[in-house]
């Protein structure tokens, strides 16, 4: 073995490979995209096929404010990651917490909408096909936002006790990739549910 090791050729001068965290997150995003695609296809396939009411036109209201909250959180998480890469931990923490607040606001909006649909319009997941597909698709997205918020909060807690520094910037960037994905999916869900589906 050692005799062999000595006869290995010279290592190439610049040997750089992609970051494994980012590659893995890209893989996860591809897999998640496939899952969302199937739910979106089911939603579109069943638009207008419900045998009973209520229909989306009657009950859905476009959540413009909360959409703006979620989409702008993509900007804040990006700026937060950039700040950490430049070793500005204070700015990072501020922007990171702002991201959590914006994501939390979005979840509040979803909760409010579901409360209204269930208690005022009597629409549940078993009412009709619209209910089944709506709660599944929006719920799947909300589940991903929740998972993202939990991970963001963990980083925030570590940052508050001063355990996050510039050396963690690559990991934080991986998490920010996930958050961008969650936001991008919302653009699709929003278009399908609140624009096309009505």
């Amino acid at each position: 073995m050692s005799a062999m090791a000595n006869s290995y050729p010279q290592a190439p001068a610049n040997w750089a490979l992609p970051d494994r965290g980012k590659v893995a997150m890209a893989g996860l995003i591809i897999a998640e995209s496939a899952i969302f695609t199937i739910f979106v296809v089911a939603y579109l396939f069943y638009v207008g096929k419900s045998l009973t009411g209520p229909s989306p036109r009657e009950v859905l209201e476009t959540p413009i404010f909360y959409t703006i909250c979620l989409l702008s959180s993509s900007l804040t998480v990006h700026l937060a990651a950039k700040s950490l890469a430049r070793d500005r931990v204070g700015a990072f923490l501020g922007l990171w917490v702002l991201t959590i607040v914006l994501g939390g606001a979005f979840m509040y909006g979803t909760a409010q909408e579901w409360h209204r649909l269930i208690y005022e319009h009597g629409l549940t997941i078993s009412t009709n096909l619209f209910g089944t597909t709506y709660y599944s698709l929006v719920g799947l997205h909300a589940f991903h936002v929740t998972a993202g918020l939990l991970m963001l909060s963990m980083v925030a807690i570590f940052a508050l006790v001063g355990r996050v520094g510039v050396q963690h910037s690559r990991r934080v960037e991986v998490l920010s990739m996930y958050w961008h994905f969650v936001d991008a999916v919302w653009v699709v869900v929003f278009t399908v549910v609140y624009v096309v589906g009505r």
Partner: protein, 557 residues
Amino acid sequence: MSSNAITVPGVQIDEKPWVDTLHEWVTTVDHKRLGVLYILYALLFLVIAGVEALIIRIQLMFPHNHFVSPEVFNRLFTLHGTTMVFFMGMPILFGFANYLVPLMIGARDMAFPRLNAFSFWLSALGGFLLYFSLVGANGLYGAGNAPDVGWWAYAPLTARAFSPGHSTDYWTLALLVSGFGSIGTAINIIATILCMRCPGMKLNRMPLLAWLNLVMAGMVLIAVSPLTAAQAMLLIDRYLGGHFFDTQAGGSAVLWMHFFWIFGHPEVYILIIPCFAFMSEIIPVFSRKPIFGYPVMVAATLCIGFVSMSVWAHHMFSVGMNSYANSFFTITTMAVGVPTGIKIFNWLGTMWGGRIQFKVPMLFCIAFLFQFLIAGLTGVMLGSAAFASQLTLSYFVVAHFHYTLVGGVVFAVFAAICYWYPKITGRMLNETLGKLHFWLFLIGFHLTFDLMHFPGLLGMPRRIYTYEPGRGWNTLNLLISIGGFIQAIAILLFVANLIISYFKGAKAGNDPWDAWTLEWATSSPPPAYNFASIPVVASRRPLWDLKHPEDPDSRYE
């Protein structure tokens, strides 16, 4: 897996108690141990699902046979199909990917060792859940039950009204859980191949096994996720009163078929592409020639990966799609045969003019080439919508896909086990037992699956638990069953060979086949750290360069 690469003189190492060894294996994050766990786990399920197949064949041996009841027969073919695809096929191929990819690209482990262990135990839990339905499906006080909806579980069979109890739920959960495991492993394989290669191992110098597993892992991400989504929908239907596949409330049973086959067809390529990878590593070594047409092999694999994503509805020609859809899926199905054909010609080109050594792994490879070709030809026949409408749901289809999965995947897996067994255990397999195993299995395989085409052509439908005498199926079915038992005997010989050779086999040394890829540069079995110093490569055959410094491959690249 104690290392014999470094021995410290004067230090006596005591034999560890077996509890410690067990603990080490259960908590391991080493890619080689996890690979071995995957393979052993898959072999266990191969035996379980094989016994199920034998019971099915005993039942069909004679007309009006009463060996098992119709209900049990339904459960048997459901368990057999589900087990073979999800708990034998995928794990054994993931096991080899786990074991070989880091060694072949000169890495010390996978990119995420703990994710690797997590994925394995998820898959293991999936298999456990499927078989737990035998005791838990009706609650512990009830008699056992098992899923009986078929491996594709068409709606509305899976609705609460037609599948009471929890057997279908265990089936759903088993696939959901093992699906998460598969996605985790796929992400790990991709990250390992892209980010952990040793210096000089450019993408165009990677062993084909790494390339093909990269494509396979990419397909897992895109193809297994739809199954996960569909299973989630099925759970919503069964537990929350949803209507996705509930035709009474406007839902669609055909949508489930689409979702299932969007997973189901790429899945067979997920199973066969790693087998192509074994062929591409084993055939050159025993032909004493480098692989013919390396770049074309990579291109053909990528091509199969893309095209196979758009062929799924050839499983659904008889459900009443419109003629445009039928034409589209016929054309794409025919098209996927082209890159596959290119591969077969490349392997033949590798063998052509080589000094072929007919060792056991090579015998399995040659049989693979013939059988996979025939399986591909019946696949092209069934890919034609007009022909498929005649023979769909007949034994011709059963014969076709068993020809690909047994004649293809199982033969390739045997080739791989015989080829890498010396690396994994440090011992050679017994060549005589191996040849006996090969010829018995070959005879049994052809007796069963060549003949199985004919009852199909004569109109015997699949999934029937018995049949009338006097339709010309009797003798054929008897011979098919006898072939099944010959295969079972061959597998027993194989298992015996694995066990006997582990204790009594000749010492293998680092490189028993005089091969060219990096896994043969380290000791057998490899130490936990794989390589004492990270290798550097300058060509596609790093070991050739080491053994032939006067004429290295790197001079020609």
